[in-house]
């Protein structure tokens, strides 16, 4: 067998040395002939006869050369090269067609690669952790939308850690981290930074190894431990230019809650591949991690989001049945057994938890892009058929000269393949650009999106599509072209009525298919668009458009009175800036994070646990409600007196008022809010707190007093000025008040809303783009078919016009034909869309899957576009001059 490899190697080598080897063979053959001639002459033949005999003995020279080539080289590759050369030549001759086909394919394949990469990243690829199938997320069984229903107290967490037998490790992170909750002073100016508290063993559970330095040690998780921090890779690059010298150094980190300036030792840097936000909290950028010290949080209620790693060989179901036994036994707090045992535990695979909700959307997206590819193929099939008609004679000639059917089909498939490969290459470039853009889109809040890229799987997918597509669109035309009656084709036909009719029918069917597919896409996109508009129409309860927020720093020395004075100063001076309508401070912004406390009506008896309503809390200054554009329905806003005099007052929203005092006037009544008895002074309209699509939750607004410390503070400014110029004057004012104010971002509140609706926008944008592409391709298909049939019927139309048909009559006939195709396509499409729409019902928001407006609108749109596409050739038909038409061939 050794010779086999040697031969193969030599064959490959010969393949690339075709010319010199041919040259050598020619010399050898020439020598051979000369020797033969000489020998023949020696035997007494005259020279001419000698040469003739020599040539006869030698046989066909060309045949010998062919045999030689076959024996030494790679014959199949030779044929392929031949086909390719020929293909390039024909395509160059028909450059318009080639460019159009490649562009169409590039769009189709590019779109497919993009969607595949997104699907692959979010759904298919395992999470970027070691043995990620072992990771689980543990939440309450009836987890409502609030984060408090998905978290546990320090005590419950420790109980679970100690008592379970099915998990190798259980750890978690502090779930109520707002953006920019720290002020970080490493080198130079202080900057706001987002720090996340993680429980012991968090990184070890995930299997994350530090890129430099080390992870936290056990002794760093005890009370009064030496403070330590881990930096995220991007933060380390940004702040320290990737200098490992920072490890072991101390930096100043001040917590925005208690404002204690702490010296913290940087112990390590996390790897680049570890992006906490993209997995656990899409859209969040975490800059650094600090230990969550259980002892410091015993009294703080539910705040740990739990992540566990199953022991090898233990299934989620097994772990779940153990959790079902354990969780009901856990106390809310050991110190206060009277608080009860409120827990359940639901284990979900981390991957499922992260991307399960997106599965349906992504599958819909995948189907949409599959439809696009189908339309692309149908379109190309159509284009190729049109070409086939034009090349019938050429192929008939080749077959008459002895080309076998297989050889012709092969040639045609090579053409399709060349187009597809060119399309795939261009499509990949397109996909690469789009994905690079998507991966760096902080404004699209989808999990794992930052990790999206073209990987091996995506390339394999591209290859599959690039090879599969031409088979799909190329085979039918190829088979069609290679059969058929030679004589018919060779006779200067083109008007062969019967052949033409069936040809037309195939093309018409293809166009109808295209229209139907485009119709399905359009209806789908239309439904999503309607949903999106409905989402935007939702009364948010505040007006985001002209408000902007900025995180502020100040030093009140932990004194509430001083804080009130600083706040008042900030609000007063910002409000005085020309163009500012109102300003206020809150420790929380809508749609950016979660925090819930309880509120209950205070009556004669002490409220029980079950009387409490979970509410979303804002700790605010006067003016905040106005600055956000929230509507006060009853009573009054919080005043500076309330802050300065530490009054226990609360503003609630309608939902809370309805729940606590249904049908009664809540103003002046007393409630237990956040553990304090407070007087209700105002009621505001409901505000959507975490996303526009949730129902407006319960909310309350408390003055920042001795009792309630804000966790960070955001100054919200409502103004008629553009954000950029406003930012300058507001920052100047803040610097005047506090020179240590960090250089922070001025964020339009609209941006927060946009982020919250971004996944929907993302899907809408993609599906919408696909639908638009589908529409374009379908109209191109109609245009092509009608143009072709008009060209073919030029003579017939000429005769009709000569016999008295008017221009309008001809125009109407052609348009009527178009309309017929369009109507059949739309009818089939609408019926299909009815069925398909049911499947995407769960993705819609306040829109019925049979929404008549969408259906009718899309039908009309498609009809109009089809008419336009048909009108152009129709007009050309009506302009035919009968004399000219009858004279030409």
């Amino acid at each position: 067998m050794k010779y086999f490899f040697q031969e193969f190697f030599n064959r490959v080598r010969s393949f690339f040395r075709d010319a010199p080897l041919d040259q050598e063979l020619n010399e050898e053959m020439a020598a051979h002939l000369e020797m033969a001639v000489e020998e023949n002459m020696r035997r007494g033949m005259p020279e001419e006869e000698a040469r003739r005999q020599a040539l006869i003995q030698f046989g066909g020279g060309q045949q010998a050369r062919e045999l030689h080539r076959e024996a030494r080289g790679l014959p199949w590759l030779d044929v392929l090269m031949q086909d390719l050369r020929f293909t390039f030549r024909t395509l160059k001759r028909d450059a318009g067609f080639a460019i159009l086909a490649v562009l169409i394919l590039a769009f189709g394949i590019g779109a497919n690669v993009v969607v595949f990469s997104v699907v692959n990243t979010i759904l298919l690829r395992p999470l970027p952790f070691r043995d990620s199938q072992q990771l689980v997320r543990i939440v309450e069984k009836k987890a409502d939308s609030g984060e408090s229903g998905r978290t546990y107290t320090a005590d419950a967490t420790q109980d679970f850690q100690q008592q379970n037998h099915s998990l190798q490790s259980v750890s978690g992170y502090f779930a109520f981290t707002g953006p920019d909750n720290f002020k970080f002073t490493g080198t130079g100016q202080p900057v706001p930074a987002t720090g996340l508290l993680v429980a012991e063993g968090f990184f070890e559970s995930l299997g994350v190894e530090p890129a430099a330095g080390r992870l936290f040690r056990r002794e760093e998780f005890v009370h009064h431990a030496q403070p330590a921090a881990l930096l995220s890779y991007p933060f380390w690059k940004r702040r320290f230019g990737g200098d490992t010298g920072v490890i072991g150094r101390t930096v100043d980190l001040s917590d925005k809650v208690d404002l204690n300036n702490t010296s913290v030792t940087v112990v390590g840097v996390l790897p680049e591949a570890f992006d906490f936000g993209s997995v656990f909290s899409p859209g969040a950028k975490i800059d650094l991690f600090v230990p969550y010290i259980m002892d410091d949080f015993r009294d703080d209620g539910n705040d740990l989001a739990l992540v566990g790693r199953l022991k090898p060989g233990v299934s989620i179901a097994q772990a779940q049945s153990e959790a079902d036994l354990l969780f009901p036994q856990f106390y809310f707090e050991h110190k206060h057994p009277e608080y009860g045992k409120p827990y359940t535990g639901q284990l979900t695979g981390l991957k499922e938890y992260v991307s399960g909700k997106l599965r349906r959307s992504l599958i819909v997206l995948w189907c949409a892009v599959g439809l696009i590819l189908l339309i692309v193929c149908v379109n190309l099939s159509n284009l190729l058929l049109a070409r086939a008609a034009a090349r019938r004679k050429e192929f008939a000639m080749r077959s008459a000269l002895g080309a076998k059917r297989g050889r012709i089909v092969r040639q045609l498939l090579t053409e399709s393949l060349v187009l597809a490969v060119a399309g795939a290459v261009l499509g990949l470039v397109l996909a690469f650009a789009i994905l690079a853009y998507l991966a760096h889109q902080g404004s699209i809040v989808l999990p794992l999106l930052s990790m999206v890229r073209i990987d091996g799987a995506a390339l394999a997918w591209t290859l599959l599509v690039a090879v599969g597509a031409p088979v799909l669109f190329g085979v039918a035309p190829a088979l069609r072209m290679s059969t058929g009656n030679l004589q018919e084709a060779l006779k200067d036909g083109g008007h062969g009525a019967s052949e033409g009719k069936s040809h037309d029918r195939v093309r018409s069917t293809l166009v109808i298919t295209e229209i139907a597919l485009a119709c399905v896409l359009l209806v789908g996109a239309g439904l999503l668009l309607r949903s999106f508009l409905r989402v935007l129409d939702v009364d948010l309860g505040f007006e985001p458009s002209r408000a902007a927020a900025v995180s502020i720093d100040y030093d009140d020395g932990g004194n509430p009175a001083q804080r009130a004075a600083i706040w008042q100063d900030v609000v007063r001076r910002t409000s005085a800036i020309p163009g500012v309508e109102s300003a206020g401070i809150s420790d929380n912004l809508p749609m950016s994070r979660n925090r819930s406390w309880g509120i209950a009506a205070k009556g004669e008896r002490k409220p029980k646990d079950s009387d409490f309503v979970g509410v979303f809390v804002y700790i605010v200054s006067p003016g905040y409600l106005k600055a956000m554009g929230m509507r006060l329905l009853q009573g009054r806003d919080i005043g500076w007196d309330d802050l300065i005099n530490n009054r226990s007052v609360v503003v609630i929203n309608e939902s809370v008022a309805d729940k606590l005092w249904p049908g009664k006037d809540p103003i002046g009544r007393h409630a237990m809010a956040g553990g304090m008895e407070s007087e209700v002074i105002g009621v505001i309209a409901d505000v959507r707190e975490s996303s526009a699509e949730d129902s407006g939750g319960a909310q309350m607004f408390l003055p920042a007093t001795k009792q309630f410390s804000p966790e960070g503070s955001f100054l919200v400014v409502r103004s008629t000025l553009p954000a950029a110029s406003l930012a300058i004057s507001v920052m100047r004012t803040l610097r005047e008040i506090n020179p240590g104010q960090s250089a922070t971002e001025f964020r339009p509140v609209q941006g927060l809303v946009d982020r919250a609706t971004s996944p929907r926008r993302f899907f809408l944008l993609l599906v919408g783009a696909f639908a638009g592409l589908g529409l374009l391709l379908a109209s191109l298909g109609i245009y092509g078919v009608i143009t072709y049939s008009v060209t073919r019927q030029t003579q017939e139309i000429g005769i009709r016009m000569a016999l008295g048909a008017t221009q309008t009559r001809v125009l109407l006939d052609v348009v009527g034909k178009t309309l017929l195709l369009a109507l059949i396509g739309i009818a089939i499409g609408v019926i299909t869309a009815f069925a398909v729409a049911r499947l995407i019902a769960s993705l819609l928001f306040r829109t019925a899957p049979t929404d008549p407006l969408t259906f009718v609108g899309m039908m009309v749109l498609l009809g109009v576009v089809a008419l336009l596409a048909g009108y152009l050739p129709a007009r050309r038909a009506s302009k035919i001059d009968p004399m000219v038409a009858l004279r030409t061939d």
């Binding site: 010779y3 010969s14 050598e24 020598a31 030689h68 076959e70 024996a71 030494r72």
Partner: protein
Amino acid sequence: MSESKLDLLQGTLDVMVLQTLEAMGALHGYGIARRIEQVSANEVLLNQGTIYASLVRLQQRGWIAARWGTSDNNRKAKFYSITRAGRKQLARDAAYWGRLANLMGRVLALESNGGEQ
């Protein structure tokens, strides 16, 4: 058989070439073709040109080697000679053909006997 010439079976030409080179030493293409024609007493239907496909195949398999040289009458020609791998291959082929010829002879003899009984 004497009337029409023998059509060469697939692969037989390669063996003939190897055997010719083994017996005659280095030869050019024309020489090999002539030699085979002489040995077969013109019974073989050989287009001399086809020998070059066989030669290049054998060469690529490493069974023969080639170099340019000058012929007896001072003509530039490519000379082929058998290699060690070629000799081994020839031995295998010879054994194979021997067995095949033997077998065919037996089988054909058997048939004519059976017909008489």
